[in-house]
Each structure stands twice: as C-alpha cells, then as structure tokens.
C-alpha cells in the first residue's frame, strides 16, 4: 500500500509551530496516527484527552479504530491534534463568569451535562449554551478586570455524580478558593446596583427577545463544529422552562441559578409583569438577600426550624432580666400590650378636625382609644378590632373604617405597625414574631432613610440597598426611590418571615405563574403570509402572536400534535395537529433547528418520570431534537 505524507498540527506546540508530517498508509487507523504523532513530538505528557480534528470537514476523528481511508482522509486533509476539553468562559445566570474545561468534541447536550456535573447542578437537560450578546466595548476596558472564577483545575471525571463533601462536590473542598467558587454558585448574589441594570441590554420588543433565542447552540453538534474556540465566552442558561423534581436539599446550585435567571429576566424586562407583581418580586429579592447574607450556608434549614428558633430566641430575650417567681411569670404571661398617647384621625366627609390626641391601648388584636391615660380602665371611646391586612383600614361589619394613627418617632411607628400587622393575621403581641416584625420594619425604614439621604450613590453598608436595584428600570422612571420604599415594604410584610428556601421557591412560583412565563419567541413567516409574525414556544404549547397588536391569535398544544417535519433547505417547519390542522412557517430570527429542538425538547421534558428518575434518556433527546445528526 502506498505511503503518503499526512501533516498534523499539534496545538500544544504553539500556534506558529510547523505541522508535523507523518508517513502513513491509508489503512492505518486513527489510533496509530496518534501514536506516531505523540512519538514524534517527544513530549511526555498526558495525551489521553487529545484527539484529531479534521478542519475542512469540521469533524473529530474520534473512532480510533477506523482507518484513514474509512474516514476518507487523504494527503490534503488538514488535521489538528488537540485536547477535547478546552477552557470556556461561562457566563452564569447570576452574571458571574466561570472558567472551566468543557468538552469540545461531544454534542453540546453532553457538554452541558459535563458542565453541570462539575458545578453540581441537577437536571442538566433543562439548560443549554448560547452565544452571548456582544457588549458595547467602547469605553469599557475595565471589563477585563472582571472577576473570574476558575474551575479549570477540576479533574475530568467520568463519574456520573461527584461525591459530596459537606454537601458540596468534593472538588470544591480542596481550597478556600474553590470554596469561594461554590459559594458564588450556591448563594444568591446581592441586588445589582441599579446603574448596572440600566446599562445592560434590555430587549425592547418581542422581536428583540426573538433575536436572543436565535443564539442557542445546536445541542446535537459539538462546540468545535459551531465555531466555538477555547477560552470563548458562552452563556449557560436554563432553556426549557419545565423544571422537574426540584428538591431544595439537593438543588442548592440549581435553585440559586434559577432564581438568578428569573431575577434578571424581571429586572431586564425580559418578562413582563404588573406593578403589584414587581413590588412583590422586589420585596422577595430584598428578603432573600437579607437572609442569604445573614445565614451563609443554609438553604438546608427549614421553615419550621426557623420558626421555633426565632420563637425561642425572642423568649430568651424577653426572659432576660426577669425574675422567675411565679407571680412574675404570670405577669409576663398575660398578653403584652402597647400603651401610648397617639394622635388619631378618622377621615370622614365633612370633618375638618385634624388629629386628636388619645391614650391608645393595643391589646390582643384590638386597639382601644381613651381620652386620657387615667380613663383607661373605663369604657374606651372607640375600640377597633384588627384582623385586616392594612394598618389604617379596619373592616367592621359595616364595611371599613379608616383610622390614622400618627406616631412620634420611628421606634414607636415600628412597634405599632408591627402590632397591627400581627393583629391582622390574628396574632397578638405575645406572638414570637413580634420582635422580628419590629426589626424588619425598622430596617426597612432605615433603608428608606439612607436612600433619601444619599440617593443610593454609594451603596456601602448592606442595609442601604437601593430600592431601584429591586425593580426594573421602568419603575425607576415611574417612581422615586422614596415612593417605591413603602410599596415594597408593604409587599415585604407578607414575606418577611419566610426562610431562604421558601422565599426563593415563592419567587420562582410567582415567576412561573406570570402569563408570559417560559415563552421563547421566534419571528416566523407563515406559509402564504407576507408579513412577519411571532411564534411563542411555551412548555406545553405553541402560540401565534400578531406583531401588530401583540395579542395571542392562536395556540396549539403539543399533545394534539400528530407530526412535525422540517425542510432544512427552505428552513420551513410544518406541523400537523389533530383535527386536520396544519401549519407551516419558515423561521426568520432563528435557525429552524432551534425551533425544532425547542419543540422536541419540550416533548422530551414531558416524558421524564419518576419511575426512571435518575437516568437521563439521552438517546431519546437526540431522537426528538437531532434533525440531521440523529440519522
């Protein structure tokens, strides 16, 4: 058999190094080529991760037993010998950048599985990689100094599940540095400065959003095939909004990143919500940040424990300095009350009277007003029973009466406000949450103060979170920080006692119940139509959106789908639904592989079941999403 020269570039020798020339015959198998090559380089190193990449055909020669002729390689082939795993700069949902080694030779689906294994994130099938949006690099040269979390030293293991140490994968326990990386992954980030939010790219329209979804990488091809080079930047994001089997105990990283992705989607107005919802999201962010800062390694502690813990704590506080005689005990046992002179104002039509001073007593869940302190044993002038949401509003059987109580200072306000809040939940002052309620009101007031004072310019202390960083830029325009504070505070009262996990779960739930949740948009042109329209791909259906009105025109559910076909040449998708409904459209903003993969992917997500819980059916995924490559 004829001997010919095969030249191979060895990446490890450096960019400018000349190609190594090998004398081969066509029946030499790839493994033999590699062996010859390594011998010729005379470099002693671990070559086990290296493989040959055929540049012209954009193809890895991974079957080492195949002969060169079987691959169809001739002397003109440009081969590169390089590691299959290369470092990648991975933008995480929380905005941080992680540097790690990812597989450039396996389909992206598997690459993601590998990445998720390293960062301990379960259910990698829900995530994928996408090309980042190019940032305007005009004035920003500072970006280079961006913090990088490095995980490239983590050994590549084949174990499906890394062994855990202290609840985190063992490789994170190696050094303080690694632990810091894990902390970044598993602990929520503080709210971003609102300038940061304002500066980031925000999709302004459905079409803008559609363009983002055109950036997803193809799951069935490898990174090399998609033009990704070592050290390139990619985003890791949740792609399929069908979150399966969330278990806070095991899903610390997953929940944290999911929360971060949801938070950013809201802050960047990627998903729309109402004002009321935004205030609640803001309140939850504030709370989550506060709790996350105070208890670093939790997510494992539970609501019930927290409750008792705080109950005990407040008891301890109360008991301090108290004698233990029986009578004293009984004294403290009797329901605590608040007594004070407060100014009261009852808005009524035709009254011009202002605030009037009364001796006000707060007991159990009701407020009694007396003309003076001395009369407090007689009949009250007025008694208000509060089992209502709002401090100033008191529903009685006739409806509601509004009563304003004016307090002298913040401490007093916090005490009374907390009492009213508890009463509206049917709790008395004896309730263990009273102190924490007071504290939370105080800290929120403090936040308002710092905001109105320094206008959040320098966010030094963790207490001084700018309310602007909790809501999307739309509300920066609409409201002053000062106006936002009471609204967020209001929403905050309903969530202030949640544990970290519960708060995150709640955040995610509200996010998931938004009408636009989980919609991936693609601009398409329906067959026979001359105008662009938008298809929204949801976890359970496709919707057709009229771009002019922004209205959902039609929706088709996947479970009514009989078949779908892709014509790769004219980039057209044809879908047939039950009842002889046929639709066909060509994709404008995204490759139809992306659309195809979304639909197949969602169908795949719905096949997951507990019976075969932990084994991911990769084959099925590729069957449903593969397209060309699956054949």
């Amino acid at each position: 058999m004829a001997v010919w020269d095969l030249s191979v570039i060895v990446e490890d020798l450096g960019e400018d190094a000349p190609a190594i020339s090998l004398s081969v015959t066509s029946d030499l198998h790839v493994g033999g080529v590699i062996l010859k090559l390594v011998e010729k380089t005379q470099i002693q190193q671990d070559w086990s991760d290296h493989a040959l990449w055929w540049e012209q055909k954009q193809k890895w020669l991974l079957r080492t037993a195949w002969a060169l002729e079987k691959y169809g390689i001739h002397a003109d082939a440009r081969l590169v010998f390089m590691p299959q795993h290369k470092p990648l700069k991975l933008g995480l949902p929380n905005g941080k950048t992680l540097r790690l080694r990812a597989s450039f030779s396996s389909p992206v689906f598997q690459t993601v599985i590998g990445i998720c294994r390293v960062i301990n994130l379960r259910h990698p099938e829900e995530l994928s990689l996408l090309r980042p949006i190019e940032e305007k690099k005009k004035k920003k040269d500072k970006d280079i100094s961006e913090e990088l979390y490095d995980l490239t030293q983590v050994p590549l293991t084949s174990a499906s599940r890394p062994c855990l140490y202290n609840g985190m994968p063992a490789h994170f326990a190696d050094s303080a540095q690694m632990e810091a990386v894990y902390k970044m992954l598993s602990v929520t980030q503080p709210p971003p400065a609102h300038e940061v939010v304002a500066k980031q790219y925000r999709p302004a329209s459905v079409v803008d959003k559609a363009h983002i979804h055109g950036r997803w990488l193809d799951s069935s091809r490898c990174l090399m095939q998609q033009g990704i080079q070592g050290n390139d930047r990619l985003w890791l994001r949740f792609k399929y909004y069908s979150f399966y089997d969330i278990e806070p105990k095991y899903d610390v990283v997953r929940l944290t990143q999911l929360y971060e992705q949801a938070r950013w989607a809201l802050l960047l107005e990627d998903i729309d919500c109402t004002e009321e919802e935004m205030m609640l999201f803001g309140a939850l962010q504030y709370h989550i940040n506060k709790v996350a800062q105070s208890e670093p390694q939790l997510l494992t502690s539970t609501a019930a424990m927290d409750d008792l813990e705080s109950a005990l704590q407040s008891l301890e506080v109360k008991l301090e300095g108290e004698s233990t005689s029986a009578s004293d005990m009984l004294d403290t046992m009797s329901a605590p009350e608040l007594n004070d002179y407060l100014k009261i104002f009852r808005p009524k039509r035709l009254t011009l009277k202002g605030y009037k001073l009364y001796w006000v007593k707060f007991q159990d869940t009701s407020i009694s007003c007396f003309k003076s302190k001395e009369e407090c044993f007689g009949e009250p002038v007025q008694q208000i029973n509060l089992k209502v949401p709002h401090q100033a509003v008191n529903p009685s059987s006739e409806g509601m009466n509004e009563v304003y109580l004016r307090c002298e200072d913040e401490q007093q306000y916090a005490q009374w406000m907390a009492a009213c809040r508890l009463a509206s939940k049917g709790k008395s002052l004896a309730d263990s949450s009273y102190q924490s309620e007071i504290q939370s009101i105080c800290s929120f007031l403090a936040m308002q103060k710092t905001n109105s004072g320094s206008h959040g310019k320098s966010a030094e202390a963790d207490e001084s979170i700018n309310t602007y960083s909790l809501v999307s830029p739309r509300y920066h325009k609409k409201y002053k920080a000062k106006q936002l504070t009471p609204r967020i505070l209001d929403a905050y009262q309903n969530v202030s006692l949640l544990s970290l996990t519960d708060a995150i779960m709640r955040f995610l739930q509200i996010w998931q119940s938004l009408p636009d949740f989980g919609l991936a948009y693609v601009v398409v042109r329906f067959k026979g139509s001359r105008k662009d329209e938008v298809i929204g791909i949801a976890p359970s259906k496709l919707i057709r959106i009229d771009l002019g009105v922004g209205d959902v025109v039609k929706s088709w559910r996947y479970n009514n789908m009989k078949q779908w076909n892709v014509n790769w040449d004219i980039k057209q998708m044809a879908i047939e639904f039950e009842g002889n409904v046929n639709i066909a459209f060509s994709c404008v903003t995204a490759d139809c592989k992306i659309v195809h993969e979304f639909i197949g992917g969602y169908i795949f997500m719905s096949t997951r079941s507990h019976n075969k819980s932990n084994t991911l059916n990769e084959e099925l995924f590729h069957k449903l999403t593969g397209g060309h490559e699956a054949l």
Partner: protein, 583 residues
C-alpha cells in the same frame, strides 16, 4: 349519635336566626336548643372531653425520661403539672373560669431556675397558642331540616364535612359542600375543603341571619372533571365537549402538578358596579395569579399597563343573588369579592356581573384556584395553625416541641407547614391540596384508581422519529413522517369514568342527605392546651370565657387529680393571682 332521628318538627330557621351567636347566658341558650340537638351536642361534648383526656394522659405517659435524656436536657426537676378535666358546659352552670398552674419551688441553683423558667414560659406560650375555640353550628339541610354539630377551631372544612357525612348518611360524593350565606347581602359561597371552618364563622355579626348550608355543589371540583372548560376556555364548545380523557389528564398534570399551580388565563369584558354608585361599567378584566386586573381605557393589554382591581389576600369570592333586582345588574350572574369580615353593605364590596352563568363559574373557579395558590405558598406561622388536622388535639403541639428538640427524629417535619397539612389531609380534594410545589413526594398526586397495567410506559422506541435530514432529499418536498402521539400522554393512565374521577370521600352508607345549616351560637370558648417542659412534665391550662366576655383565671386543682412528675418535684398550687390576670 348516628342513630339520632331526623328532627320531627323542622326547626324553623327563623326562630334560630334570632338567637345571637355571642350569647351571654349559656343556660338560656342551651334551653333554646331542641332536645335532640342538645342530646347530640352532649354526646359530642362528652366524647370530645373523654377523648382529650385520654390523649392527654397518653401523652403524659409518653413523656418519660427517655425522651428527656435523648434530648440532652436538664434532669426533670422543674415544672410540674396537673391535669384537670376541661370544664364541661353541661347543665349550663356558670363555670368559674379556671387556670391551673403548678410550680416547683425555685431550685437553689439560680441558673437552673432560670432555664426552668424559660421552659415554663415556652410551654405557657405554646399553651396560649393552642387555646381552642369551639363553636356549635347548626347546619341547614336542603330539605329544611338541620343538624347541629360542634366545630373545633382546628378543624378544616373537610373534617367538618366528614362529621356531616356521618350524621347525614349521604352518599359522600365530592360535590357535597358546606356553604355560608350572607342574608343581608344575599351572598353565598361554599367553603373550600382546606379552609378553616371556625374563622369565617367568627366574622358573622351578633344578630346575624347568616346560615351554614350543607348541599351538593357540582362546580366545586368541576375543574378536575373538565379542566378544559377552564384552561382552554377560548376553544369552541364542541372541542371542549369532545375532549379526550387523556388530554384532560394532561391538562390537570400540567396545571396542578408542576412546580407551581397555574391559574387559568381568563380575560374578558365584565360589568363592574362602580363604587357606591348604582351604575354598571364595562371593563376588560384579566385574571392573573396575583389578582384581577383591568385594562384602562386607551391602554394595551400588556402587563405593565394593567391596573390592579383586587388582590386575593383577605378576599373571598361569593355568588351574588338577585343582583338584577337588587342592584340593577345587567344579568343575575354576579360574583362578589369582599373581605370576610364585611357583613353589611359597604363601598368595599366589589360586584362583578357576567353575561352568562358559564362565564361566572369560569371566573369564580379561576379566582378560587388563584386563592388556593396563595394558600399553598410556604407559610411561616405554623404555630397558630393546626399542624396535623386529623391528629389528636394536642399532638400538633407535641409535634412542634418534639421537632425542635429532636430535629433528627422527624426529618420529614422540616417541610413547610402546608405540606404537613397536605400529607395528612384526607382524600378527594387533595388533588388540589397536594399539588404543592417543591415536594417531590407530592408531585404526582392524582392517583386515579386505574388498573396498574395502564401505567406502564411504552418503550422510548415508540417515540416519534426525528424529522428527516432534508439535505438528502429534494428541496421542495416536505418530508412527512408520521409522528406518534407525544410521549407525554403515555405517562398517564386513562382517566376513570367521570363519577370516579375524584376518589370519593371515605365510604359510608349511602343515605341521601339533604339540608341546610345554621350557625347557632358560640357555646363556649374553652381554651385547652398542653405543653411540655423540657423536663418532661406536662402542663394543662384551662381558661374559659365568663359571661362578661372577660376571662378570669382560677388556680384551683381538683382534688385527687394532683400528680407528681419527675423526681423531687414540689407541687404548689397558687390561688392568689386572680386579679393579676390580664386577660
């Protein structure tokens, strides 16, 4: 009491109506009860008291040293307790309210004494939280008869219904509901099974003519029978009617079994009665999980422009009756949103009128789902809520304490309160209740009775072949390859026939029960609770409301009931604190 004959003479609702709830004289009000009511009530009470005593005793026995040592607590030296029987309202005697509290003499070691004091304090705190209100409720049946039963404030509606099933021997199907009517406002709503029963009744006014009814409400769980009518309401009638069972199941799975319950995306023009005015105005409303919104004039339907009409915390949804004649509503299909405390005409009541009955039921159900969602969210206030609805009266408490001191014993207890409730909650409605997010165990709660063979999934090979690679094919042709039904469907067993769609409540003989109910009065409020000191003693504390509504305490110990706990305990009764009681 099951053998109790139906009341011979129907108690006239109107007569009962005039009885006040917050009566002052127990004797008098008891006299006004019909004999059979009284008998039934007595039975209940006695059973109740016996049960609680037995349980208490059992609990105390269970509090031996083992648990104390296990919990690594100081030796049981401190608090002691005694167990008087809860006062019985029998005979209407004016009961002296009493509190029984026993203390050990302070131990010489001051630190230890303080620890002890803390324990007692904690126990007392817990006791207070565990005080239990009880109502005697008269439930009106469809046929005009009535049943009387006692409702404990820890009971949820489902549990009360189980009592009703026992009393009425009805067929126990899932449609049975307890409803409250508001006579003055002419409103009606059925309670949700997970709701607390006593709470809404306490909002009634003194001289109310409101009633509690027991009747079948087919719409109660209609959303599980025909989810398509709610989640695909935009589709045409025929599609909805011909919906396959398989697709219904998928809808349920999708909307109730995911990480979050999904609220139907209702939208439509409804008539709104303007605040305090007689006119009705049309508005384009949208239902979202966070509330009902409307689209202001001249604005788009995008989320940012929506104006919040109402949020669901502290709001209940009612059916309005006779709105057409009463408020000049365009139709009689009105639903009403109001705070449960509001019992009379008020500008804070929101009346919404729909064009037809279907729309009304659509919206009412949608609002119920949204309300349910907030019910399901993680709760923090477990202490004031019943933890284990079906558990013995004091176990909720014991549970909490045990949990705190020995978290490892009960790993499952670390979940949220609502979860606990769900796990122990009974049958049918749990299709809803158990669709709680973030618990894998509850993930697939729809356990329809089906042959197990249907649950086997088809092998994955069965799945659709991927779209073919067109590059090998003529470019103009679309390759048609048949695609089997989406695999999601394979996962689900076919739904059983409609009547069994939701598992029926516990089996009972099928008597047809009809009727209607009426809250009689608050018989007494007995506050009973136990707590445990760390030392392993138990405390029982009985407080009772006296006729003036103020509660006093009495620290006498019934003779012969004194007991000693632990070693070296000194028992002291203290009878001198009556004037100190700040209740």
């Amino acid at each position: 009491e099951n053998t109790e004959p139906p009341p011979p003479a129907l108690p006239s609702a109107h007569k009962e109506i005039n009885l006040s709830i917050g009566f002052t004289d127990l004797n008098e009000s008891l006299n006004e009860l019909e004999d059979n009511d009284l008998d039934a009530l007595m039975n209940d009470l006695i059973a109740d008291l016996n049960a609680s005593e037995v349980k208490l005793a059992a609990e105390i026995e269970g509090l031996g040293p083992p648990s104390a040592t296990k919990l690594d607590l100081p030796a049981p030296k401190g608090p002691v307790s005694e167990l008087p029987s809860p006062p019985s309202p029998r005979g209407g005697t004016q009961q002296k309210p009493r509190l029984l509290l026993l203390h050990s003499t302070p131990s010489p070691d001051e630190i230890e004494a303080q620890i002890k004091a803390e324990k007692i304090k904690l126990a007392l705190e817990k006791l207070k939280e565990a005080k239990v209100k009880k109502l005697v409720v008269k439930v009106m049946m469809d046929d005009g008869s009535a049943k009387t039963l006692m409702v404990d404030e820890r009971q949820n509606v489902r549990e009360v219904m189980e009592n009703m099933f026992e009393k009425t021997h009805c067929d126990c199907n899932v449609n049975w509901s307890l409803c409250e009517t508001n006579h003055e406002l002419q409103l009606e709503r059925f309670f949700e099974d997970h709701e607390n029963m006593v709470e809404p009744l306490l909002a009634w006014t003194r001289d109310t003519e409101n009633q509690v009814l027991f009747k079948e409400m087919p719409e109660k769980y209609e959303v599980f029978k025909n989810p398509q009518n709610f989640y695909l309401w935009k589709k045409d009638r025929k599609t909805l009617r011909d919906m396959k069972d398989k697709d219904k199941e998928i809808l349920i799975k999708e909307n109730f079994c995911g990480t979050s319950t999904i609220v139907p995306d209702l939208e439509g023009v409804l008539h709104l009665k303007e605040d305090g005015k007689k006119s009705w105005k049309q508005r384009l409303f949208q239902l979202r999980a966070s509330g009902i919104y409307y689209v202001p004039k001249g604005k788009t339907k995008s989320s940012r422009d929506l104006v919040c009409f109402v949020q669901f915390d502290n709001v209940n949804v009612y059916y309005g009756q006779d709105c057409k004649s009463k408020y000049k509503a365009p139709t009689d299909f009105c639903f009403v949103l109001k705070h449960p405390q509001i019992q009379k005409e008020s500008q804070y009541i929101k009346y919404v009128c729909c064009d037809d009955e279907t729309t009304m039921k659509l919206w009412v159900t949608g609002i119920r789902i949204a309300k349910f969602l907030s019910f399901c969210r993680p709760r923090t206030s477990k202490v004031s809520r019943p933890l284990l609805p079906s558990s013995p009266p004091h176990s909720g408490h014991a549970f909490l304490l045990r949990h705190h001191w020995a978290p490892n014993i009960l790993p499952s207890a670390s979940s949220s309160g609502c979860q606990e409730r769900c796990q122990t909650a009974p049958k049918a409605p749990e299709a809803i209740v158990s669709s709680i997010p973030h618990t894998s165990r509850l993930r697939r709660p729809l356990t329809f009775p089906t042959p197990s063979t249907t649950q086997r999934r088809a092998p994955p090979d069965f799945l659709p072949p991927p779209p073919p690679a067109a590059s090998f094919l003529p470019s103009s042709s679309l390759n048609s390859m048949p695609l089997p039904p989406p695999p999601a469907a394979l996962d689900l067993p076919p739904p059983p026939p409609d009547p069994e769609f939701l598992p029926p409540p516990p089996p009972m003989q099928a008597y047809a029960g009809t009727g209607c109910l009426h809250l009689l009065r608050r018989l007494h409020q007995a506050h009973v609770g136990t707590g445990r000191s760390k030392a392993g003693g138990a405390l029982l504390w009985v407080l009772e409301e006296d006729s003036t509504g103020a509660t006093k305490e009495d620290y006498t110990v019934p003779p012969g009931r004194r007991r000693r706990w632990g070693r070296g305990l000194n028992v002291r009764t203290d009878a001198c604190h009556e004037e100190k009681a700040g209740w």
